[in-house]
């Protein structure tokens, strides 16, 4: 099974809109999923400048964009990907 890759935007807009609170994912993900899921911060996903509505913070779970991301919504998306991967 391929690893699920999570990219968390650390750009200005995302950071002030709540990405700073998403950093607990850095602890949760490795302890919960081990090597199945990889998480990393990225300087900017360039989504805030292209989207017409304010939906920051953004997190990418593989190729899926999680907008207005929370710890719960990101974990949900990861679960979905893992489940799909197993099927």
């Amino acid at each position: 099974m391929a690893k699920v890759k999570v990219k968390m935007c650390m750009g200005t807009t995302c950071f002030v809109m709540g990405a700073s609170d998403l950093q607990e994912l850095m602890d949760i993900i490795p302890s919960k999923y081990g090597d199945d899921v990889e998480i990393q911060g990225v300087p900017c996903l360039d989504l805030c400048s292209t989207s017409s509505e304010a939906k920051a913070p953004y997190v990418m779970v593989d190729l899926t964009v999680v907008s207005k991301a929370t710890v719960e919504s990101v974990l949900e998306e990861i679960e979905r990907k893992l489940k799909n991967g197993q099927e």
Binding site: M8, C9, M10, G11, T12, T13, F15, V16, M17, A19, S20, Q23, M26, Q40, G41, V42, P43, C44, D46, C48, S49, S51, A54, A56
Partner: protein, 387 residues
């Protein structure tokens, strides 16, 4: 050329204040600098007041006058005599330095400065001007042309007389002893900064004393003509996207130390030059996104928030418990002499969304503010380029 200047001091061992006073001021619009070292008679508070007054007067006089010789002569002729000891109440050295290497020096009573060029001591010619009012006062006036790598070392007699009367050095360290130490140190560390060399001289003087206690106020001022340390900061994407590649290449090829401030900017340079950005430890410290890493770039940070916080630190000082990205950026800026900003003029509309929990300032304004502080408070040379 950039003039690196610093002074190190130690007070006489039983005193609570310094009896020597050092003062320097840069004039960026004229590319010049004036430095004054004055040694007040005696030690402690009295000496401190005498030296401070002499140095302050001299700086103001030289600053106001086109002629350093005349300004110093007026001070030499007007300084009073100590009622108790019947000798001059303070001695001084004044240097007026231009960035093109022209240096004018006037000395009265302080040990002769040491001029080191290409690892050797140069003994330049001087003219002597006698005081009209006091027989025992004479000024030595020098006019020099320094080149890259040259140094001038000024010190108070606390340095040259260190160890005086001890069994090993009956006459103290003397100028000749100090020269030996200086030449050896410069041979070992040819690029040693003025700050480090001045500290070294004071250390040598104190270590020369048998009991490692300064017997007199001990000061050393070093002037070093060197290549400026350049820094280049790229912040914000360029207004014309088609020029991204051109600017990214220009930035990367610069020989200056490099910093990127902004996530989009980091992505842009990464994309144009094919250098990956690593955010391995993306933990924010002090409510700021953490620094990232790129090969060939000295510092990569988030943009507006980090810049805003850096301005705060530059203005008011850094008092946080943990070092964050703004601290790193501040250190990056302060360890450079000439700082150039490449400011991308493209706006990110998302930053001006009224729903954002905090107000985000316009990049141009923050950089303007930062440039002003760096110029006025830290005497850096700052260039702004909007792209």
């Amino acid at each position: 050329m950039f003039i690196d200047i610093d002074c190190a001091q130690e007070k006489k061992y039983n005193q609570n204040t310094y009896g020597d006073y050092f003062l320097s001021k840069r004039y960026p619009d004229k590319d010049t600098l004036i430095a004054v070292l004055s040694d007040g008679l005696g030690s402690g508070i009295k000496a401190n007041i005498l030296a401070t007054m002499t140095a302050t007067m001299l700086l103001k006089f030289v600053e106001a006058s086109a002629n350093i010789k005349l300004a110093c002569e007026v001070v030499m002729n007007s300084l009073p005599v100590c009622q108790v000891r019947k000798i001059s109440y303070s001695t001084f050295s004044v240097a007026h330095c231009s960035e093109d290497g022209e240096v004018k020096i006037v000395e009265e009573g302080n040990p002769k400065f040491i001029y080191i060029s290409d690892g050797k001591v140069v003994e330049p010619e001087y003219t002597v001007i006698d005081s009209d009012t006091f027989k025992n006062r004479h000024m030595h006036v020098y006019k020099l042309k320094l080149k890259l790598g040259d140094r001038l070392i000024f010190c108070s007699d606390g340095v040259t007389q260190a160890g005086l009367g001890s069994s090993d050095l009956k006459l103290g360290l003397r100028r000749s002893g100090l020269i030996r130490f200086l030449l050896e140190k410069i041979k070992d560390m040819p690029d040693i900064s003025s700050s480090e060399l001045a500290k070294f001289v004071v250390r040598v003087a104190i270590n020369t004393e048998p009991d490692r206690k300064a017997k007199d106020d001990t000061s050393c001022c070093v002037i070093y003509y060197r290549e400026p340390r350049r820094a280049l900061i790229f912040t914000g994407p360029p207004y014309h996207q088609e020029k991204d590649n051109e600017y990214a290449n220009e930035f990367f090829k610069s020989s200056a130390k490099k910093a990127i401030c902004g996530g989009t900017t980091a992505n842009l340079i990464s994309r144009e030059l094919n250098i990956p950005v690593r955010c391995d430890i993306a933990r924010s410290v002090g409510k700021l996104p953490a620094v990232s890493h790129m090969d060939g770039i000295d510092l990569v940070t988030e943009g507006i928030l980090t810049l805003t916080r850096t301005v705060e630190y530059l203005e008011n000082g850094f008092f946080e418990k943990e070092k964050n990205a703004a601290y790193e950026l501040m250190q990056f800026l302060l360890s450079s002499d000439c700082i150039e900003f490449m400011v991308g003029a493209k706006l990110n509309q998302a930053h001006y969304d009224p729903n954002l929990p905090i107000e985000i300032e316009i990049r141009k304004n923050i950089i303007k503010k930062m440039a002003k502080i760096l110029e006025d408070k830290y005497i850096k040379r700052v260039t702004l380029r909007y792209i």
